[in-house]
């Protein structure tokens, strides 16, 4: 996993609520056996017509908007556990997703792939979306070390993240490295664990 560095980037607004992982990456694109290349089909059916023509009204097809942060409505990433959703967002170039509420499995998958889910208040989300609409190039600054997200006008909000997961993101470690260092303890546990 790549280390998470301070981000200063414009953002892409997607104010829809309850964006499910079937929209992020439809099931028919889950047939690959590697982790790469899913960005091509990110938001496939919102982004393209059935004949592959880009839909003009979808935000990823609007050249006004770009950047490494996706700003989305409440309950982002609900539904299927497919980690391909996190892979697709990362592969497309996003490094953080901001929302006022995340579905559990998506949040975990994102963290395991160096994609930072940032939960902000409803008010801050609203302000962010309004600022981006007013000035699409407005930079968003994300500092994981200080757990702070700030906007161009200086307004900011701190966000929560598990201290272990934060360390993993900053150092580029993953959970498996950590668990592998616990193997002796796990084997010890197995000796006394009864499974009926």
């Amino acid at each position: 996993m790549e280390k998470f560095k301070v981000l200063k980037t414009p953002a892409v607004p997607l104010p829809e609520e309850d964006v499910d992982t079937d929209q992020i990456i439809p099931a028919r694109f889950l047939k690959a056996t590697s982790r790469e290349g899913f960005g091509e089909n990110l938001f496939r059916d919102w982004r393209y017509d059935s004949d592959g023509t880009p839909k003009e009204d979808f935000v990823l097809n609007n050249e006004k908007y770009s950047g490494k942060v996706l700003v989305a409505g409440r309950n982002f990433g609900c539904g299927s556990s497919r980690e391909h959703a996190a892979w697709a967002l990362y592969d497309y170039g996003f490094r953080a997703v901001v929302s006022s509420f995340f579905a559990d499995i998506f949040r975990g998958n994102a963290l395991n792939n160096g994609l930072l889910p940032i939960q902000v208040s409803d008010e801050f989300l609203k302000k962010m979306l309004a600022d981006i609409k007013k000035k699409p190039s407005t930079p968003i600054k994300i500092d994981l070390k200080d757990q702070e997200i700030s906007l161009e006008d200086g307004s900011s909000e701190t966000f929560e993240i598990n201290s272990f997961k934060k360390m993993c993101l900053l150092k580029g470690y993953d959970d498996i490295d950590f668990l592998l260092s616990k193997m002796d303890k796990i084997k010890e546990f197995e000796k006394q664990h009864v499974e009926f």
Partner: protein, 469 residues
């Protein structure tokens, strides 16, 4: 100290508490399938580590398999590649695979319980959000991402945050023609798709305890649709009886020992939950969804909400546009093009019996395409033994071979753009059953009734005979 059912099972599996409130949780059973495992196997190879406990992994091919002519090579090249990769990976690492053609093949959440792999008090994970199904046995079962599949392969453990607990109690008696699917669609319509997020749910109350194991699985299966990590029901005589004699269940003295332990798995009287909800069984009616998430459910005799009645009017507008429906309209009488009976929610033998019992001697409406996809080879064979296949064929239903099928449209079983499908599956997301497909979620009895009538109807007006199961 008083404990909830969840706490009792969870505490049995904590290897260690680590920094930041995370816990190392031991996993008793790891179920894998072709779609979310290949990248995990690659990860294991790239790290140069072994799979720690191959004896605790069970594999099947379900998401991506055809439901016709399973004896022939899979036509779609990418699907074939993925199914072949699973077989190769299982061979390389020595993992038990119930692949295509195997008598135990089927949807991962159908075969676990029917083979006695799923037992009370266990921790079970799978790279699939509907792993919550297994909670019906009083197990802690939840869906994980592929990085976590790799974690469990490497260490048989997960590094996780302990979820909060929620209890949903439903007391009272269910009316005729009301099934488990109606209960869970009702609950999700009340709590919304994020109402359970961060929580593990225990379902309790007389209306829950009176249900069969199949019905309990339907309820726990859809826990994820309100955002919950999982759902569980305390094991009781119904559970013990179901597990007894299953292929991999403990036998004889071992079974008796197991039951003794399983009987300790219940929530203590004064245990406290983080969140509690109570509903009355008498308030639940046959349900149907009108929108593009499972929280968008109404009673089948009701009307589609108006923008001023919901929290997210923009979302409602967008979903109704997609569904081709109007705010305030009644769904009764709406013409339906397809009926899909299947998925890990409703494809078990009890579901097929309910359908067969109703459609026996009737014919589906001419314009409706009705497809039934059994949850497993064993369900299919049981249906044949009971003559259900003949009843369904005579009613004009197509009985396919087992797999996830049109629930997620990964194989060729897709609903065409713009057409309406009444489905016993779990998700009505945009494009879930195929690009542009319009899905309405219902119970198997409602689906069967709609297949015969060709339009949305209240099943109670047609059949008040409850199926004996």
């Amino acid at each position: 100290m008083s404990k909830t059912l969840f706490d009792k099972v969870w505490d049995q599996h904590v290897v260690e508490e680590v920094e930041g409130g995370l816990e190392v949780l031991y996993i008793d059973r790891h179920l894998i399938h072709e779609v979310t495992s290949p990248q995990a196997f690659s990860g294991i190879r790239n790290r140069g580590v072994d799979i720690h406990r191959t004896d605790k992994i069970v594999a099947t091919a379900d998401h991506n398999v055809p439901t016709k002519n399973q004896h022939l090579p899979i036509k779609d090249a990418l699907s074939r590649l993925q199914v072949d990769a699973l077989q190769q990976n299982c061979e390389d690492f020595g993992i038990e695979l119930y692949g295509l053609g195997h008598p135990y093949q089927g949807i991962v959440h159908v075969i676990g319980p029917e083979l006695g792999i799923t037992k009370p008090g266990m921790t079970i994970v799978c790279g699939d959000s509907h792993t919550s199904t297994h909670g019906a046995f009083g197990a802690i079962a939840f869906g994980i991402g592929t990085s976590q599949v790799e974690q469990v392969m490497a260490t048989q453990c997960l590094l996780v945050e302990r979820p909060k607990t929620m209890r949903i109690t439903i007391n009272g008696e269910l009316g005729e023609g009301i099934y488990a699917k109606d209960i869970i669609l009702y609950i999700i319509s009340k709590l919304g798709t994020g109402g359970g997020t961060g929580h593990f749910v225990e379902y309790a109350g007389t209306a829950i305890w009176g249900l069969s194991m199949e019905a309990r699985m339907t309820i726990c299966n859809m826990s994820i649709e309100m955002g919950a990590r999982g759902g569980m029901i305390a094991p009781d005589e119904t559970t013990f009886e179901y597990v007894k004699g299953k292929e991999f269940a403990p036998k004889g003295k071992e079974y008796e020992e197991a039951v003794k332990y399983w009987k300790t798995l219940y929530t203590d009287d004064d245990a406290v939950f983080d969140t509690e909800y109570n509903y009355r069984a008498e308030d639940i009616e046959p349900m149907i969804t009108y929108g593009t998430n499972p929280g968008a459910g109404i009673k089948i005799t009701g009307t589609v909400p108006k923008p001023e009645e919901v929290g997210n009017p923009e979302g409602l507008k967008k979903s109704l546009e997609y569904m081709g429906l109007e705010a305030g309209q009644s769904l009764e009488g709406k013409k339906i093009d397809h009926v899909f009976i299947g998925s890990c929610t409703n494809s078990r033998i009890e579901d097929l019996r309910i359908v067969a019992n109703y459609v026996k001697g009737k014919k589906k409406a001419d314009h409706v395409e009705a497809m039934i996809v059994p949850g497993s080879r064993q369900v299919q064979e049981q249906a044949q033994r009971e003559g259900i296949d003949t009843i369904l064929a005579e009613a004009g239903f197509e009985l396919r071979q087992s797999g996830c099928s049109a629930c997620l449209g990964m194989n060729e079983d897709k609903i065409p753009k713009g057409e309406y499908c009444v489905s016993t599956s779990n998700r009505n997301f945009e494009g879930r059953q195929g690009p542009g497909a319009r899905t309405m979620l219902v119970s198997p009895l409602t689906a069967a009734t709609i297949a015969i009538e060709g339009k949305v109807v209240d099943p109670r007006k047609f059949s008040l005979e409850k199926v004996a199961v």
